[in-house]
């Protein structure tokens, strides 16, 4: 392939990255254009050449079979070119490669992605590629074939959206979303269709052959807000959660309405009339389509969750189950002409909580990244294909029709949103303001679904199909380019609330849960069964029955708050690993608060009382002696010494990694109950399992204390009041070693006894005092005055 080699030899000049990116872009477009031209050129011939190609191959080898045809011996082909053999996968891969490289290129160019949304750029690229192909004189391949679109390109995007759908805001606003999706789409369809028909009847537009039903059909196609376009644009503007979920939820749920309307009008356009009976049937069809789609999705979701319960021994194929079940849900729904989109959403949303509790951390990451990858590629491809199809498709431009369409769509959207909000606000607790309404109206983008639906129309039944397609494409371009590009500055101009990027803090989590229960309680006192009551009932039902079936092991008992807390600890531990350490200077860190600051000034009961049976006073003395003998550093915090602070003192190099290593041993041996923050008796808790699987002892070797200065919440609860604190001493007795260990030499100035440090591994590690290198052990504070030991005033002088 000379083209390939030519491009390969093209120099990569030492430009700066942006211009290199541009150069790469241009090269790639040229490359793809030429190769695709080749491909396009060959495609009409493929059927003809297939047989001859096959014959050639077979002929050369098996000429001895028949002498029916003359066979002249040629030289043995050392190197041959057979494009048709691999043509279809090759072209597909080429398109995917083009899409991905485009995406790459856009982000190399610094300011482009902030001005123009990606979707616009991709459409432009599609236009260019289509133009190139046309220039080469070849027929542009019909890339946005409806089958390809609906069966291959759309499902990954919808699955990604459904799986990561934020359930809580979605459910809280479900009434509003349904209103917009169902009533809003119906209104749009009839308004646009009806008025278009009226316009068509006006003399002088040469459109009088367009009848009512095709107009209504057109209206229903064009009125649906498109999830792909909405996702593409809204992702970049980071708008607040409520608005995002309103527009996005609407775009997902209006699929059912669109499907029903489309089929209804398409069926009856031939007949030319719709009777009231048909309308009733249409309504029933709508209910069946939507509820049926959801049911199909839910069934597959439960199947997936149930399957994942048993996959603990075959972790490698866990992600596969999820993808396959979801895809089958989509296909099953499409088989019955139910709403495939709603099936996918239902499947993803239903299976997620159970599957996440069952699968390993790595599988979870795999699922997440695969979904994101596929949906990203799909989205890119869709926009590029839109561009190509624009160049390719036969167009019938009619100024009146197209312009009226665009205007009407905008007008009907605004009227619809305003009118519906007026009604909805009567039922909402948190009303939608005018700004919100504007964003919802303006964010109603149309996209490739409309185009594909138009493409599906039968040419014979709908002679004005090309005109429809032109109008649809114009509308898509208008919304994506004009509205897509201007929505970001408008959001800034109107000062619409943006998404809160703040990390969820544990206080917020506690209070969210608290609020849930509080509001449920107040509703019960008021006596009416409101929103919270039913949610609470559902949760309890879920916990009692469903989780038992679908979640493996003991994990189903974990309440949400604890799961959240585990996740947080785990995240911090991972952050610690990834930060790789670095000496943390406490003085450089502004917010340092340690446990001692919050522990109340109470005199704890004397040691003997707290001793566990296994632990004797004699052992304790032994340990203290060892500590004393290993003292190397007197600390300022003499007053606050107690054996617990010793353990927790993290300011030596390598302390943490030792702790972590030790902790892993312990965890694996399941010997020590974790007395610190989380009872260690749940070895199967998902975070722990993931920790075990995901973590690698070697990864922790270079850990120093977290250097990012963020007040990581490490709760070292070596509080003397804790009866379990003696477990630590128990460990001492087992190991017979002292408490501290230091592996590095760096000596850090520490003012606080127990510093905040990453939780998770570290904290569990603290508990044990045993160590591997007694030689390196050094105590961290002066255990000299024995009264100090008795005093056990934990953290305060």
């Amino acid at each position: 392939m000379s083209v390939w080699s030519k491009i390969k030899r093209a120099p990569s000049p030492p430009h700066s990255p942006p211009s290199r990116g541009l150069l790469l872009l241009v090269m790639l477009i040229f490359l793809e254009g030429t190769v695709l031209t080749l491909g396009a050129a060959s495609s009409p011939d493929i059927s003809a050449q297939d047989n001859t190609g096959g014959h050639d191959h077979r002929g050369i080898a098996g000429s001895h079979d028949h002498t029916n045809y003359t066979y002249t011996k040629k030289a043995f082909p050392v190197l041959s070119l057979d494009y048709h053999h691999i043509q279809v996968p090759f072209e597909i891969s080429l398109w995917v490669l083009l899409a991905s490289l485009m995406k790459l290129g856009f982000h190399l160019i610094p300011r482009l992605s902030s001005i123009v949304p990606e979707s616009c750029l991709l459409i432009v690229v599609g236009l260019l590629v289509g133009g190139l192909i046309k220039l080469a004189g070849e027929e542009v391949p019909p890339v946005l074939d409806s089958n390809l679109f609906f069966l291959c390109l759309l499902p990954p995007i919808i699955l990604d959206a459904g799986y990561f759908l934020p359930i809580r805001p979605f459910m809280e606003n479900i009434g509003t979303i349904l209103m917009f999706a169902v009533v809003g789409t119906l209104w749009n369809a009839f308004f646009v269709g009806g008025l278009l028909y009226a316009v068509c009847q006006i003399e002088g537009t040469y459109l009088s052959q367009v009848e009512l039903l095709p107009c209504l059909l057109f209206g229903s196609i064009i009125s649906a807000v498109d999830p792909v376009a909405v996702l593409a644009v809204f992702e970049e503007i980071h708008i607040n959660e409520l608005l995002h979920i309103l527009v996005f939820g609407e775009s997902l749920l209006n699929d059912a309405v669109t499907v029903v309307l489309y089929h209804l009008f398409e069926e009856y356009s031939g007949a030319g009339e719709v009777t009231p009976m048909d309308v009733v049937l249409g309504v029933i069809c709508f209910l069946i389509v939507s509820l049926g789609g959801i049911a199909v999705g839910a069934i597959y979701g439960i199947l997936a969750a149930f399957t994942s319960r048993f996959t603990s021994h075959t972790r490698v194929i866990e992600p596969l189950f999820m993808f396959v079940y979801s895809y089958m849900a989509y296909l099953s729904a499409e088989m019955f002409h139910l709403s495939g989109i709603m099936a996918l959403i239902a499947c993803g949303a239903v299976m997620r909580p159970y599957v996440e509790a069952n699968i390993s951390h790595k599988s979870h990451t795999t699922v997440k990244y695969f979904l994101k990858m596929w949906s990203s590629v799909s989205e890119t491809l869709i926009f590029i294909f839109l561009g190509v199809a624009t160049v390719a498709g036969p167009h019938a431009w009619n100024w009146t029709f197209v312009s009226v369409t665009v205007i009407l769509c905008l007008v009907s959207r605004v009227i619809g949103v305003v009118g519906l909000t007026f009604i909805i606000n009567k039922f909402r607790i948190v009303k939608l303001t005018t700004k919100d309404q504007f964003i919802v109206a303006y964010g109603g983008l149309r996209g490739a679904i409309a185009f594909s639906l138009g493409y599906l129309l039968d040419k014979d039944l709908f002679p004005m199909r090309t005109m429809f397609l032109t109008a649809i494409i114009t509308e898509i371009f208008f919304t994506v380019f004009v509205q897509g590009m201007t929505i970001k500055p408008l959001v800034d101009l109107l000062a619409v609330k943006k998404k809160q990027e703040a990390k969820r803090s544990i206080n917020e989590e506690i209070h969210t849960q608290f609020l849930d229960h509080l509001l449920t309680g107040i509703e019960d006192i008021c006596g009416h069964y409101g929103h919270h009551h039913w949610k609470d009932k559902l949760n309890r039902f879920n916990k009692k029955y469903i989780k038992k079936c679908l979640i493996a092991g003991e994990r189903y008992k974990e309440p949400q708050l604890i799961a959240f807390y585990h996740k947080m600890e785990f995240k911090q531990a991972i952050e610690l690993v990834e930060s790789g350490g670095g000496v943390k200077l406490p003085s450089a860190v502004p917010s340092q608060v340690s446990m001692q600051n919050i522990q109340p000034k109470k005199l704890p009961p004397p040691v003997a009382e707290r001793a566990l049976p296994q632990f004797t006073k004699g052992r304790e003395e032994e340990i203290r002696k060892i500590l004393r003998s290993n003292l190397q550093k007197t600390r300022q915090r003499l007053r606050s010494y107690n054996r617990h602070t010793l353990v927790a003192d993290p300011f030596e190099d390598g302390w943490n990694d030792f702790l972590l290593k030790k902790q892993r041993l312990i965890e694996l041996e399941k010997k020590m109950s974790n007395y610190l923050t989380v009872p260690g008796a749940i070895p199967d808790s998902p975070t722990m399992c993931r920790a075990r699987l995901a973590s690698d002892p070697n990864a922790f070797y270079n850990i120093k204390a977290s250097s990012d200065g963020v007040p990581t919440i490490q709760v070292d609860l070596a509080s003397p009041q804790s009866p379990d604190s003696v477990n630590m001493l128990n460990e001492f007795s087992k190991e017979g070693q002292g408490l501290g260990q230091r592996e590095g030499g760096a000596d850090r100035d520490e003012d606080q006894g127990l510093m905040m440090k990453p939780a998770g591994k570290g904290e569990k590690g603290e508990e044990e005092g045993g160590n591997k290198n007694p030689g390196l052990m050094r105590c961290l504070s002066d255990p000299g005055p024995s009264n100090e030991d008795e005093e056990d005033e934990p953290f305060l002088p």
Binding site: A502, D524, G530, K557, S591
Partner: protein, 223 residues
């Protein structure tokens, strides 16, 4: 039926409406509920609230019931607890859960937020010293997790301690080792929860129309 009755008590209701912001219909419905709970007496006691069956499975029911009898929630600058409350006080406590009006200025919104957070704060601060100490916070988390069974006090303690640390570091920042953080004051409480947008979350829908059918003395009402 409900509407007519409420109109007959109009002057009393008007005063209550002004004080708490409920509409007449809402007050009427709540009054009916109050009478139902208190078995047609004038004063409501803890035992009456305890009999609500749905409340039995709520992990924080004791705190919720206590909140009704806490004088600090009556907006009269009182202190301590009472044994029984009148309808007015019942209504005042309920008014903490009213949704904010549509068009509010930023100041009004802030005021509403403070009021709601104050209610929450009072629920946590059981000994009424103006701060939520570590013990009190631990108690809160323990109660929250009490229904979940398995994990018990240690986890609760851990979570509460972590939360406390977080508050301390957000509010105070650097602390000397010998300084002691007594507890979460109201200002700190406001600070850590300012991202929750409590004025949009801590609301319940109060009925405007009487759709409940009164049963007999049974405390549960059916919609």
């Amino acid at each position: 039926m409900g509407a007519l009755q409420s109109l007959s008590d109009e002057p009393e209701y008007r005063e209550l409406a002004e004080k708490t912001g409920f509409s007449f219909e809402q007050i009427g419905i709540l009054h009916k509920r109050f009478k139902q709970l208190s078995h047609n007496e004038d004063m409501l006691r803890r035992a009456d609230l305890d009999t609500i069956p749905d409340l039995a499975c709520n992990p924080i029911r004791t705190q919720i019931i206590e909140a009704f009898f806490d004088k600090r929630n009556f907006h009269q600058n009182g202190d301590g607890t009472v044994e029984e409350i009148s309808f007015e006080e019942f209504l005042v406590v309920m008014s903490h859960f009213r949704p904010p009006a549509l068009n509010m200025t930023e100041d009004q919104r802030e005021k509403v937020r403070r009021e709601k957070l104050r209610f929450l704060f009072n629920m946590h601060d059981t000994d009424n010293d103006g701060t939520i100490t570590l013990e009190e916070y631990r108690h809160v988390v323990e109660e929250l997790l009490s229904r979940s069974g398995a994990l018990g006090k240690e986890t609760a303690k851990g979570i509460a301690d972590a939360a406390m640390l977080e508050v301390a570091s957000i509010s105070i920042g650097h602390m000397e080792p010998d300084e002691f953080y007594e507890g979460i004051t109201f200002e700190h409480f406001l600070k850590i929860l300012k991202d929750i947008e409590i004025e949009t979350k801590m609301n319940i829908r109060f009925l405007n129309m009487d759709t409940t059918t009164l049963c007999n003395r049974d405390s549960s009402s059916i919609r």
